[in-house]
Subunit: 339 residues, 2 copies
Amino acid sequence: MRGEFDLIRRLRERIAAAGSDSGDRLLIASGDDAAVTAASGVSATSVDCVVDGVHFRRATFPPEAIGAKALAAALSDLAAMGADPGEAYVQVGLPDDLSEAALIGIADGLAEVAAQARVAVAGGDLVASPVLFLAITAVGHAATLDRLVTRAGAKAGDVLLVTGPLGGAAAGRLLLDRPELERAVDAETAARLRSRQLRPLPRLAAGSALAAAGARAMIDLSDGLAGDARHLAEAGAVRLVVDLGTVPTERGVAEVARAAGEDAELLVAAGGEDYELLAAVGPDRVEDALTSLRDAGLVPALVGGVEAGEGLVLRSATGRELDVRGYDQVSSRAPAGPT
Amino acid sequence: MRGEFDLIRRLRERIAAAGSDSGDRLLIASGDDAAVTAASGVSATSVDCVVDGVHFRRATFPPEAIGAKALAAALSDLAAMGADPGEAYVQVGLPDDLSEAALIGIADGLAEVAAQARVAVAGGDLVASPVLFLAITAVGHAATLDRLVTRAGAKAGDVLLVTGPLGGAAAGRLLLDRPELERAVDAETAARLRSRQLRPLPRLAAGSALAAAGARAMIDLSDGLAGDARHLAEAGAVRLVVDLGTVPTERGVAEVARAAGEDAELLVAAGGEDYELLAAVGPDRVEDALTSLRDAGLVPALVGGVEAGEGLVLRSATGRELDVRGYDQVSSRAPAGPT
């Protein structure tokens, strides 16, 4: 790894430029033993890791998408808390056969998402590794603890909403893995589905809007609606009832699923990686929440409710209850870890 | 990865118990989208990543050592700032062939270091990976920015000191890789050298003591004295002069080096991973600094000084100037990344 310090310097410059308008919280950035930030209020910290061959494939993911998606996924956790994104730290495992151009592409993708989210990439680590991986730490902020929305607050009587259509990321993955499926949809639809897989957007504005509208519990849909809804049920010690017939489906998912011989409803319920938010909102706040989400340019939908009890009831559009247990295994993502 | 959620729960319990006395800064721990901490003053954040086959070898590292050393290395960066360690986040890439017992061993090693350092393991992520890696984020705290010591403050006239003997970790690595070398030293010495490689101690108390004694610049010796001293020179825009004849050598290093056909001075100057601190201290504060380090049970030594100019001059015990450039390539560690 000759010339690596030069490369690191160039990467740092590219990434640092992106976060330069992220405010004055960052006192000492990348390059010392540790980055130093001015603290105030409360901080929310999330970690998220992606590995080549597990969460993405270098064969089908452009380098920019690898960097962009890794950071977006970490920021999505902050969105799900309603936190204001602040800093990110990026650890990269770098295999010998990754070109310098590809590494710079990854950095550019990261920098693009950092700039959009006004996040400062405050530090990082670049190590030799037989496999490419990115381990991201994202730190967000809030004035007080009660401004943040956890997974745990859902109450019987709450209404469930999602911030946008699901299934697109899973259909996009099918298109990337099997390009011949593209015949099932028009080119624009195919591009949008691939983009949902390659370039997910962390729903930061939606998370803030939902927090402001008094959402009682929130989670981002990374693993899939079925798995993540169950997390919300478990954390709140309540039962969640989701009507799949009311869950908006990204346009083109049905056609791609049919061409692939997959069940479209399964892609929506368990495909994962759409990075929309699922929130439980008190019935008196639902109109507020929907209005502020629409004002933020989103297409939210009411998808079910919260009851006393436990677990998740996932009703198919035909009304039958689906066997939820099987759904976990559909996701191509490894199960999420301790956070 | 069946049963993974159960395993994560067990890991979380083992690790959470360790950090339970780390104070009331942690408001929401592991298990939500993000961990939430109460902020005050300034935060110092460092990331550090280790990969099997690059930074350690599963063949020679007991699982407990893998976890313990990964966290210790990250905390060492906080020590080098004089920060008070607070929280850690742990991302693990988990290969199929790592046994559950080994994973629990890694967690136990982490928990042990977390407990010693009074660090709360506040979150983490466990993902499938073809290679075992640990990506650690360590967060420390200080009341104000000027309580932290960066790499950048060394001034001409300052005295350089290290907090303890060097070369032990490199000799320990030789012993682990080539057990037949153990004949060169007695069993107790061999065990201590291996322990310096497997179980480094982050010099947190030393870092605090040096910060309180007014150290002007500080770095931890992870990559090796030669490389890290050069970082300090570069950050401070000064020249560092290190007399290797005054650098304390861990007992047994000379014997192991001789048996291995290696140059002992090279192990001391560039072996790396000793995780002692190198500090630049104003001449009027040297006695204070030495006294407080000795009070903390350490064996510090004065090893050189700071001059106007640039770069690093590394004087061999025989007085000749060593060719410093070659030293970087001795380290088995991949070059450190952006932080």
